[in-house]
Symmetry: C2
Subunit: 426 residues, 2 copies
């Protein structure tokens, strides 16, 4: 019977942190405590690198209250990475490490790339005849994972970014006689889900953001100049929410970071500077002063104003991953399934890792207006339930949030040191 | 008797918005409702520009609940400006407008420049023999106003920025294998009070910010390279809080925004890009990937995570301004006076506008460590009470903050249109 498999479990967190990635870890760890199929509960230090390097620590030695408070702690308490498992030797190494520690359950939280890694690990183990249940846990602020209604991390990113757009929008509204235009740069390399989500902040036409630009709709600088001019004529000010991955009609990024470190192991180009680029253009061509806000990494870990719905769903996908693995499932990612009807209800399902890894969910056309500079009511209906509720925050006597840090008691290594394939940057 | 003066009152908000500038307005309006010396209560649309242009609206026609909710609404509900009153004609115009509307009480909330404007208005009225009571209301996130222990707006700016440093710091901590270094750019042109305040986030050495750079302590790029190298050796990651106005040993800004709009009417150069500058330098010279976060204007209006202490004090200085004006004071700014002793207590006092206008309060040496790359316990003791408490936030059914907008019912103009002196940009 499938559910008689016993062994240890490894949890790993991968890719860009979110406000709720640790909630998924907490959900999984708390669920794992309720089953007797799982012996050791191991955390991989820095994602798949922690498996490759055999840097694993004992999650059962962490304090129960710290595990609970992971639901109020942003980023990745296990450590994350952007390492791409490429070589056959690395794949061998992973199963060797999992086998050495009698790991039968491997839980990997991340985005598309991580689901690809998880899928490779699952296939390799199957090829080797080693029974290993691999479950992906969805995580990305970008909301671009295929097979799921939405991804944990997205709702909180929207909630915080929409609040920032509201607040910086009120700043522009107050100082329009001096600074009539502001561009808020929002994460989203290929998918403009977060920038589109900030459209929630626009309850009435005069509210920011007046214009939203997303990668799914190419934008020419001529259109930007025209849109900004019309907006200034109407409201005397113009607030733009711009996804970092904006492209022109030729499919070229409007802004790309240069330098030696502008690509990661996956070949993703690091973007940044779309706000600065638009600011420079608007000042020159429209002839008004423009400000550029680029909150950067702070926008994806803003636990101090996270969505309660998102935190709860993140914990639930973590718990579901453990339940489904114990019941015999493998090679799937947990998905969020929105039930039809006017009241928001969401349950968990599964999608094959390989399909998730191959797919990329972009904003559908019906969520964008015809001009490609704003969103529709359908988009608002989609995103509204995801930002609902304020996640509780533990505040210290110094008036600042209290975020936990795990103690990370590493278990002894059983294998020789990992020798990374030559030619890697790290 | 001084307290028998009767007439209308004008409130104006000036300069960069803050999270709590509207709290001061609410405090003043609510206090004014309790006195019968004040006839009409007028709001000046966009600071002193609203007086010059005779764009005044009736604050008594606003809904009482909107006035109360100003304490939960960021930016400047009256509208603000950065207009410098320079010409004798403009000064004449101001008293002409105030006289036309029988204004005897003029309340002006702002920073050093606004106190200078208020002082000029007071002196001109006195020269003209027109009895006018002018009271300044302190407002600046920069905390650089002389004569007051601290300024409303500062505590909330620190609270939000410190939380961002914590959160982006956890991001860097999670992804140190890929992005080991982050620079968070924080407002502060001449004074590094906010950047220094984010040092509160560093409860233990491994917490961000590992390095804090402020304008009060010149920094060479060589020192940055050395500091970052040491920090990476110690923690494997390095998080820097950098004030936008960093200067080198020659007194030159490390980063200055270019373009046609890089100076305001007061001759202030608009800064920005210190994070990008440091990022580029660290990647090249230290040889590690570095990220740059520049939240820009969103950092000064982050009402969703404002300091309850700050909101309360802001309302109190507004109320005190009205009380002191009614009692006969003029030509002063309300100050915050911290009582000595281990328990934080703060009352209001006054300082002459002229002295405030001339002064600029920079970080004292004892608040900075010897290396000039961090803060001392004395600084923490100073700032801790100011960020305490979480200001309540009204949240809508869409999960986002509810911020009010005033109705602004303008009163009829009584004078001919203002003719600005030639040669102005606006």
């Amino acid at each position: 019977m499938a559910d008689t498999l016993r062994g240890s479990a490894v949890f790993a967190q991968s890719g860009g942190p979110t406000a709720v990635l640790n909630s998924s870890l907490a959900g999984a760890v708390q669920e794992a405590a309720r089953t007797d199929c799982i012996d050791k509960l191991l955390g991989a230090y820095n994602g798949i690198l922690g498996v490759l390097r055999e840097e694993l620590f004992d999650l059962r030695k962490e304090r129960a209250e710290d595990i609970e408070n992971l639901k109020r702690t942003p980023a990745a308490a296990l450590g994350s990475c952007r390492h791409k498992v490429k070589s056959a030797a690395d794949i061998e190494r992973i199963t060797e490490v999992l086998r050495a520690h009698e790991v039968r359950f491997f839980f990997y939280a991340g985005g598309n790339d991580s689901m690809d890694t998880a899928d490779r690990v699952a296939r390799l183990a199957a090829e080797q005849g080693y029974e290993l249940r691999v479950i992906g846990i969805p995580k990305t602020i970008d909301n671009d994972l295929a097979g799921t209604d939405h991804s944990p991390g997205y709702g909180s990113a929207v909630k915080f970014n929409a609040a920032q757009v509201m607040e910086a929008g009120r700043d522009t509204e107050a100082l329009w006689t001096h600074d009539p235009c502001t561009v808020q740069e929002i994460m989203g390399r290929n998918a403009g889900w977060i920038a589109a989500g900030t459209g929630l902040a626009r309850r009435v036409p005069e509210d920011a953001p007046h214009l939203i630009y997303v990668p799914e709709h190419p934008v020419s600088l001529e259109q930007v100049a025209r849109d900004v001019g019309e907006c200034l004529a109407r409201f005397k000010r113009c607030f733009i929410a711009a996804a970092e991955g904006l492209k022109n009609q030729k499919g070229e990024y409007l802004a790309e970071a240069g330098g030696a470190f502008s690509q990661d192991d996956f070949g993703h180009r690091q973007l940044g500077g779309v706000a600065g680029r638009l600011r420079e253009f608007i000042e020159r061509e429209v002839g008004v002063k423009c400000r550029a806000n680029q909150p950067g990494t702070a926008q994806r870990t803003a636990m101090h104003f996270a969505s309660l719905t998102d935190v709860g769903e993140a914990a639930e996908v973590g718990a579901a991953a453990v339940r489904k693995a114990v019941k015999g499932q493998s090679g799937v990612m947990i998905t969020l399934v929105r039930e039809p009807g006017p009241v928001y209800r969401c349950s968990t399902g599964t999608a094959p890792l390989a399909e998730v890894a191959k797919g990329e969910k972009l904003l559908p056309q019906e969520y964008l207006n015809a001009e490609g500079n704003g969103i529709t009511e359908a988009m608002k209906d989609y995103v509204k339930p995801l930002v609902r509720g304020e996640a509780p925050v533990n505040i210290g006597p110094d008036g600042l949030p209290l975020y936990v840090r795990l103690q990370k008691r590493f278990v002894p290594k059983k294998l020789a040191q990992w020798a990374p394939a030559p030619g890697k940057r790290k």
